[in-house]
């Protein structure tokens, strides 16, 4: 499950990887193709219709898949334009999206077409009870204003030619997902003929709004809507096979179980005696439970930094001098804590 997060939360590695992936999809012609598709359908139900939100959700999903051909861990970050409201924000740094202005001839004029939407507008929009009222207001002014504020390519019918398009629409998609969570019983309301729940989307006639209503079913989540679960895991270790299992719990109810896989994300990471799990805790403060192993014979302690059931990286605990801190019996780890 990919987690889409605010661009400000990207690590340096994630940010650089995203930028490289953008250059990649530009070099393959994918970005220009998407810009052309958007321009072609601009006036034909992808805007000012009930399919505005589903169509762009499908578009972002396809774009994200193209980015993942460059690197499997990429998700589209989002730009919350009620918070990042200045041309001096890091969004526009030359190490991030700023560099594309001259590189791709985007002709931006940041701030010329203000104002940006406000948090008050967003919160008022989130309070709308029916889909028809919600999407109309979300589209205009909340969605429209950042397009005009950025200007240049972002302000014309081929706006997907500017990479900030995808960060902006990721935020719009997040606002739709948030509204859906708060209004689970609100039905999809068609704005006219041909744009209903089961009508085909422009360009992708095998896809319908009904197929994209549940963003989690499409394989992604949002950091602010779906925070990683804390303190709701059981960790099992099989002494004979070396398998480690993570049980995701809801109270005393097992929700799902998964075998821990190694850094390749595919193969189980089997570890047997004399290694033992001696603690489970969020060691790197990323909100995800990590594992602590101890080798009874050598005295080595290993930290496994995890993302759910996937091992991201492992590291031997070092002493103050930078060398491995080997500690054996009669010392035993009796607790792992935070803070």
């Amino acid at each position: 499950m990919g987690i889409r997060k605010n661009y400000r939360s990207l690590t340096a590695l994630e940010r650089d990887r995203f930028v490289q992936a953008l250059f990649h999809v530009k070099s393959t012609g994918f970005i220009d193709q998407f810009a052309q598709i958007h321009a072609q359908h601009f006036f034909h139900n992808i805007h000012r219709s009930s399919q505005f939100l589903p169509w762009h959700r499908e578009m972002l999903l396809r774009f994200e898949r193209a980015l993942r051909e460059f690197h499997a861990d990429i998700t589209i970050p989002y730009w919350d334009s009620t918070v990042d409201r200045s041309p001096s924000d890091p969004l526009w740094n030359n190490s991030f999206l700023g560099q594309f202005n001259s590189a791709w001839g985007l002709n931006r004029a940041l701030g010329a077409g203000g104002p940006l939407p406000t948090q008050q507008q967003v919160e008022a929009n989130q309070g709308r009870d029916d889909y028809d009222t919600f999407w109309r207001e979300l589209e205009n002014p909340i969605h429209n204003r950042p397009h005009v504020w950025v200007g240049g390519v972002m302000g014309d019918v081929a706006s997907p030619g500017d990479p900030v398009f995808y960060l902006h629409h990721c935020w719009i998609d997040l606002l739709w997902a948030r509204w859906q969570r708060e209004h689970p019983d609100a039905p999809f309301v068609s704005s006219g003929p041909g744009v209903g729940l089961d009508d085909p989307l422009m360009e992708w006639p095998d896809r319908t709004p009904a197929q994209v209503l549940n963003h989690r079913a499409l394989g992604y989540e949002y950091d602010v809507l779906d925070p990683p679960a804390r303190g709701r895991k059981l960790v099992w270790h099989h002494r004979d096979s070396g398998e480690t299992q993570i049980w995701q719990m809801d109270g005393h109810q097992l929700v799902r179980r998964a075998t821990v896989v190694g850094e390749d994300g595919v193969n189980p990471a089997f570890v047997g005696l004399p290694f033992e799990i001696v603690g489970v805790s969020d060691l790197d403060g990323d909100g995800r439970a990590d594992l602590v192993w101890h080798h009874r014979d050598t005295g080595e302690t290993q930290s496994w930094f995890m993302d759910g059931h996937q091992l991201l990286r492992r590291a031997t605990v070092l002493g103050e001098d930078g060398n491995p801190a080997f500690v054996g019996l009669p010392f035993e780890i009796v607790g792992v804590g935070e803070g």
């Binding site: 321009a39 006036f43 000012r48 005009v148 019918v157």
Partner: protein
Amino acid sequence: MQPERHIYKGHRVELRRRPDDAPAREAESGAQPELLIDDQPVRYGQLPDGSYALHDYAYDWDEDLIELARRFIDYQDQAEAVRREVDSGEKA
């Protein structure tokens, strides 16, 4: 239709019947009139709710095409000012 001409901040804004030999690309709105600013054709279209948007200024919508053209002129002036300011800052 009779041509409609306006002067806005020194710019000529005109709505007129499309020439009979207009390329299909420009006549995509069927019988829609042609919009010109300073004698240059400005591409536009109509959204499902009937409001207009310009191809180069696509996220400001209005049911009045002349009013939309005025806002486009305002936007272009502001955008040029911003770009000049950025250019001068980069050269400084």
